[in-house]
Amino acid sequence: MHTTRFVFAASAAALLLAGCASAPTPAELDAQARQMMKASFRDQGIAKTDRLNQDLGQQACSTDKPPSDEVASQIMSQALSAMKWPTGGQYIGDWREGEKLAQSGRGMTWSDPSDAAKDNGGNCYNCHQIDKKEVSYGTIGPSLWNYGKLRGVNDVAAPVSAPIVQYTWGKLWNSKAYAACSNMPRFGHMKVLDEQQIRHLMALLLDPKSPVNQ
């Protein structure tokens, strides 16, 4: 009888302990969340589950806290070293084509038929004011009205313009080179847009003839 009572008490204590142990630690919750992401999604059209395989930057920028300075500089230096500068040093395209791309929010969703860059838009007006004539613009990113003019770009080919021209290319190709957890997509790096399309967006922002710089 004593033994029975002891066993009973022991199992009650074990249950209590199990109860304590079952409150998961933050690291366990991280693992459970990853498992949940894996189990909850399926392929649909061009949007496959491999889109949930995070690279360093995606993983480090997935909380409400910024990553450590060390991790942030690692993300930025990786992005910078993977940067692809334009073939033949040709940075600038046609601002008219750039405006069309900036207007288009299409591409890369599971309801889009192809993930080829030629079928994608830049989504720019979703987040930025660009040409003031377009009143339907988002505010997640800064205004880009007068982008080149404000930075003193009178001639995109002049050596004095080179730093801002190169920075702008880098920002469009892989925004994480300059801000580890930037909200802006990495258009070139992730093959959302191709070199020629980025040249057109460059022209929209920097060409003194572009309506953006009037």
Binding site: S22, A23, P24, L29, D30, Q32, A33, M36, M37, A39, S40, F41, R42, D43, Q44, A47, K48, T49, R51, L52, N53, Q54, G57, Q58, Q59, C61, S62, T63, D64, M108, T109, W110, S111, D115, N123, Y125, N126, C127, V135, S136, Y137, G138, T139, I140, K176, N183, P185, R186, M190, K191, V192
Partner: protein, 265 residues
């Protein structure tokens, strides 16, 4: 009738766009006011009530014994406490996944089959109508999700992680658009879902009738289309990530008054 209303509201929306000074939120508040007695969601609500009371399925039973967390058959007040933990399924469930469980347990319908059915077809239309009915019964009540059960707290924590999870071709997470106050995509105001965004905003506004496509959308479809625009793969209907995100948004919305079913762009 439904179509006429949609066209009328679409025309109103265009007028709203022309007066660019007026914010989208103000515009929508105006349409809501004008439609107070004629929100097409009322039709879905009525259809949902009929479905709730109708004997259906292999067991020829109604849903009137369905337990949405307030006891069998209690509809009023249930919506503003979901998602919550249910002992009979051993899971945290949102309104729509809970309705599927009731249809399975009480009516003998095939829950897995319903979850596989695309939105806007067959039993999925019934789920949307039922969700509209259940939500309408809590109109004007304040969100107050329970967090007493360990699974409810776990759901919140993994939901928060899902909210900040970046991935896909564009590096988007829910937080990319819904992490701070006062931002827009194009002219669309974006609620900050990391806290109570206010009465009838965000989680407290769905199910909603969408004027732009003439469809009634529950929270499951709202989340599904967010993930589509996030360039993510396809979330399963009632999958853990959708329920956990609903828990995260619902708990954050504590104290917000529900206006669901509402009317949206």
């Amino acid at each position: 009738m439904q179509k006429t209303t949609a066209v009328g509201v679409a025309a109103l929306l265009l007028c709203g766009l022309a007066q660019a000074q007026k914010s989208t939120a103000e515009g929508i508040a105006e349409y809501r006011k004008m439609l107070e007695d004629g929100n097409p969601a009322d039709l879905f609500e009525a259809q949902g009530e009929e479905l709730w009371k109708k004997k259906r399925g292999p067991k020829n039973a109604s849903l009137e014994r369905c337990d949405l967390g307030q006891g069998p058959g209690v509809v009023k007040g249930a919506f503003v406490t979901l998602p919550r933990y249910f002992a009979d399924t051993g899971k945290v469930q949102d309104l729509e996944s809970r309705l599927v469980s009731c249809m399975e347990m009480l009516q003998g319908l095939d829950g897995a089959e319903i979850a596989k059915t695309p939105f806007g077809r067959g039993e999925q239309n019934n789920i949307t109508a039922l969700a509209t009915y259940v939500a309408a019964a809590s109109r004007g009540l304040k969100f107050n999700l329970p967090q007493g059960h360990a699974e409810e707290r776990r759901s919140y924590e993994i939901g928060k992680r899902a909210f900040y999870f970046r991935g896909g071709s564009h590096d988007f997470s829910c937080a990319s658009c819904h992490g701070v106050d006062g931002q827009r995509v194009r002219l669309q105001d974006l609620p900050n879902l990391t806290k109570n965004p206010g009465d009838g905003v965000g989680f407290a506004a769905w199910p909603a009738y969408r004027v732009s496509n003439g469809q009634m959308w529950g929270m499951q479809l709202r989340l599904n289309d967010c993930f589509r625009q996030q360039r993510f793969p396809y979330p399963g209907f009632g999958s853990e990530v959708t329920v956990a995100l609903a828990t995260y948004m619902g708990v954050n919305a504590k104290g917000a008054e529900s206006i669901a079913p509402s009317i949206k762009r």
